[in-house]
């Protein structure tokens, strides 16, 4: 995709340079049409595809963990203790490893994707302004909806004896999944934990 966009951008750049060096070319109808394509259509297309490429990249685990503030969270994904929720999901391939952060930290709602991007922009702002809180916290309590997006219809969730009589409460958020399942990241104790890396 990057090379296609680059090709389109270079065609646009060459045409724009030609038109800028010889503006008289835009006097005729053909010249006007070429100028419109080179200076409006192609740049808009390159920008739109570029936005898509960058937004897709921003979903990657590597992207999230590239900020040093997130390093302990990245380490917590490798904790060998299976009770650690994030590590269990990551090491057991229950989430795609290349989009691990995004899979659990986006909201599965109509505008969840947009909200995640806006939150990401806010994180970038905080990162660059250096106003980083000592303890990083979620903006709002973790919503069961994000867990139930995958687990909600799973047999091992619905038929689990510990969930008996609580399915409705968990669906409504009255009972949090994290009341029983955890720790999730617990970055303060991650250094004391055994770390598992793929051989």
């Amino acid at each position: 995709m990057e090379w296609i966009v680059t090709g389109i951008a270079l065609v646009s750049v060459v045409l724009i340079a030609l038109l800028a060096s010889r503006p008289q070319l835009t006097r005729g109808h053909a010249g006007k049409a070429i100028a419109f394509v080179a200076m409006f259509v192609l740049p808009s297309l390159v920008t739109a595809v570029g936005v898509q490429v960058h937004l897709e990249r921003a979903k990657s685990t590597e992207f999230c963990l590239s900020c040093h503030e997130m390093e302990p969270y990245g380490e917590s994904l490798h904790v060998a203790d299976p009770t650690w929720v994030a590590a269990n999901h990551f090491l057991s391939n229950r989430v795609a490893r290349d989009q691990a952060c995004y899979t659990c930290h986006t909201q599965y709602t109509m505008f969840g994707d947009v909200n995640a991007k806006l939150a990401g922009l806010k994180h970038l702002w905080i990162h660059y302004t250096g106003d980083i809180p000592e303890t990083i916290e979620l903006y709002q309590p973790y919503n069961n909806r994000e867990c139930l997006h995958c687990h909600g219809a799973a047999r091992n969730y619905l038929e689990n004896e510990f969930h008996d009589g609580m399915i409705a409460e968990m669906a409504s958020g009255e009972v949090s999944c994290l009341d029983c399942h955890g720790p999730v990241h617990d970055v303060e104790s991650v250094d004391d934990m055994e770390i598992w890396e793929a051989p």
């Binding site: 966009v5 724009i16 503006p23 740049p43 590597e62 590239s66 970038l124």
Partner: protein, 66 residues
């Protein structure tokens, strides 16, 4: 067409497009910031200036009778 406005738009578009393309080959938040904060911004301003130059050329053509 206003040649100065047209050339300014062209310059901004060229620089903006080159910045956008360059960021596509680097990952990470910095690359995203350069794309959105510089490349896309220059392209957007370039497009607006180009459209203004076209509109001005159109209205100048009408007022001069052709």
């Amino acid at each position: 067409m206003n040649t100065r406005g047209f050339r300014l738009a062209a310059g901004l578009l060229i620089v903006g497009l080159l910045v956008e393309v360059a960021t596509l080959f680097f990952g990470g938040p910095e690359s995203f910031m350069a794309f959105a904060g510089l490349g896309a911004l220059l392209v957007a301003v370039g497009i607006v200036l180009y459209l203004l130059a076209v509109l001005r050329a159109g209205s100048a053509g009408e007022s001069s009778g052709g």
